[in-house]
């Protein structure tokens, strides 16, 4: 039976590249996002390349939606074998303007959104005695401080705690939980002048040893390497 991977925020950027990489690796990919047009386009790209994918709209801020999407996937395909919890936002907000609502909004997506999806998928994963979760943190949550992105950095640091706690809690059930903390990846997020480095993103090369910011397609295999090898039967 084909292994199923569910990827959140898979319509663009790292999520999109991950979806394509998993499809190439033989998984059935459930592309989820709030961006329907982009999600459909990713599914079409995968299908055109001979892979297997479907789009399901999922706002990770909604427990109801997370439960429903996971239930629908399990009904069609059985237990989800892998989750890439990638959905996230990074808004630039100086502290004086950082309202409770803006803080909570980022946490609701970047941190709580991971928990909601994993919690929904856990019973079936446990019953199957196998599974893998990859949560996407950020270099800004583990190694650097990012000015005017305190809520984002805090949420991404929180991902590390979530990963460690779940890893210990689920290891004996055969479910591995890991995080990845990417550096400067050339995504719409990085190239946003309003919220990140903008068109000057390549100036990051002045302080990065490897000296380039890279396209997200270079990233996903590190996610794949954290997941079980698909077994065709």
């Amino acid at each position: 039976m084909t292994e199923t991977v569910l990827i959140t925020g898979a319509g663009i950027g790292i999520g999109r590249a991950s979806a394509k990489a998993f499809a190439r690796a033989g998984y059935h990919v459930v592309v989820t996002d709030i961006l329907e047009k982009e999600g459909d386009a990713v599914v079409a790209e995968i299908a055109a390349a001979g892979g297997s994918a479907e789009f399901m709209k999922l706002d990770v801020r909604s427990t109801e939606q997370a439960d429903a999407v996971v239930a629908a996937v399990e009904k069609k395909h059985g237990a989800i074998s892998s989750i890439v919890a990638n959905a996230g936002i990074a808004h630039k907000v100086p502290l004086p303007q950082l309202t409770d609502e803006k803080w909570d909004f980022t946490f609701d997506i970047d941190l709580k959104g991971i928990f909601r999806v994993v919690r929904a998928a856990l019973p079936a994963m446990k019953a199957a005695k196998k599974g893998s979760v990859v949560a996407v943190s950020s270099i800004m949550g583990v190694a650097y401080g990012w000015d005017e992105h305190v809520h984002y950095s805090s949420a991404k640091a929180g991902v590390v705690g979530l990963v460690r706690g779940l890893a210990v809690e689920l290891a004996r059930d055969g479910i591995r939980v890991n995080g990845i903390a990417p550096g400067y990846i050339r995504t719409a997020q990085l190239l946003s002048k309003e919220h990140s480095l903008g068109p000057d993103a390549d100036k990051a090369g002045e302080f990065i040893p490897r000296a380039v910011s890279v396209s997200p397609k270079r990233l996903p295999m590190s996610s794949c390497s954290l997941l079980p090898t698909p077994r065709a039967t």
Partner: protein
């Protein structure tokens, strides 16, 4: 052309790395300070492996290893600095000779092999170096101050060299394994091993092949963004 040198490849993790890289199509030079061990592993692998005995802490031996690789396959494209040994001692009883030997093999050995292999990699603007550290270099181990310090030095070396040469096409990373079922660990008491395994999130020690998989990943182009990292195949014992 992928020509790997695996130091300390005669047993345990090094042997598994040599087998894994050979299975992936690399030419593999198996180094060990015990000639018979190196030759046995090269013979197990067969066609695309050669053995070269040598003590990595000795400059002349290291030169011999590099030369043997060039003669057999061409210049070393992938260097796995794995050679090492374990010695336990209370710090208060730790003799300078044991301390020096620990640093000679792990730190000087990694330095000498890297120094010898690096020029050809820089000329080719391409190369991969993987240093085998240990999670004890991250958290420390009782009766293992010299071992822990040497492994921590390897992690520091990995980070600094990665900063220095990555823009020139050479990726340098480390692997910091947890408890692995190797002859070194199996020599410890069963009670200790059982208690240690029970405390691991995964509930079991790793196998050398599971560390080799991490090394193979770091050696591959799939790891193109990994620079100066220490990956931890450790059953969840250390989470960074």
């Amino acid at each position: 052309m992928r020509n790997a040198i695996v130091t300390g490849g005669g047993s345990g993790i090094g042997r598994a790395i040599a087998h894994r890289l050979a299975a992936e199509g690399y030419n593999v030079l198996v180094n060990d300070f015990r000639r018979e061990a190196a030759e046995a592993v090269a013979a197990e692998i067969g066609g695309n492996a050669v053995a070269c005995a040598g003590d990595v802490s000795q400059e002349a031996d290291v030169a011999g290893v590099i030369k043997a690789c060039e003669t057999s396959f061409g210049h070393c494209t992938h260097l796995v600095n794995n050679a090492g040994h374990v010695h336990q001692s209370r710090f208060i009883d730790l003799e300078p000779a044991e301390f020096d030997r620990m640093f000679a093999v792990h730190v000087r050995g990694t330095y000498l092999c890297t120094r010898a292999a690096l020029p050809a990699m820089l000329r080719a603007k391409q190369g991969v170096i993987v240093n085998i550290a240990s999670q004890l270099g991250q958290i420390g181990g009782v009766d293992l101050v010299h071992y822990s310090a040497a492994k921590a030095a390897i992690i520091g070396m990995t980070k600094a060299l990665a900063r220095e040469v990555s823009a020139d096409g050479v990726r340098v990373n480390a692997v910091a394994p947890g408890p692995i079922n190797t002859p070194l660990v199996m020599a410890l008491s069963e009670d200790w091993r059982n208690a240690k395994a029970a405390g691991l999130p995964l509930g079991r020690f790793g196998e050398p092949e599971e560390v080799a998989a991490t090394v193979a990943f770091l050696c591959s182009p799939e790891a193109s963004l990994f620079v100066g990292q220490s990956l931890g195949p450790n059953s969840g014992d250390v989470m960074l």
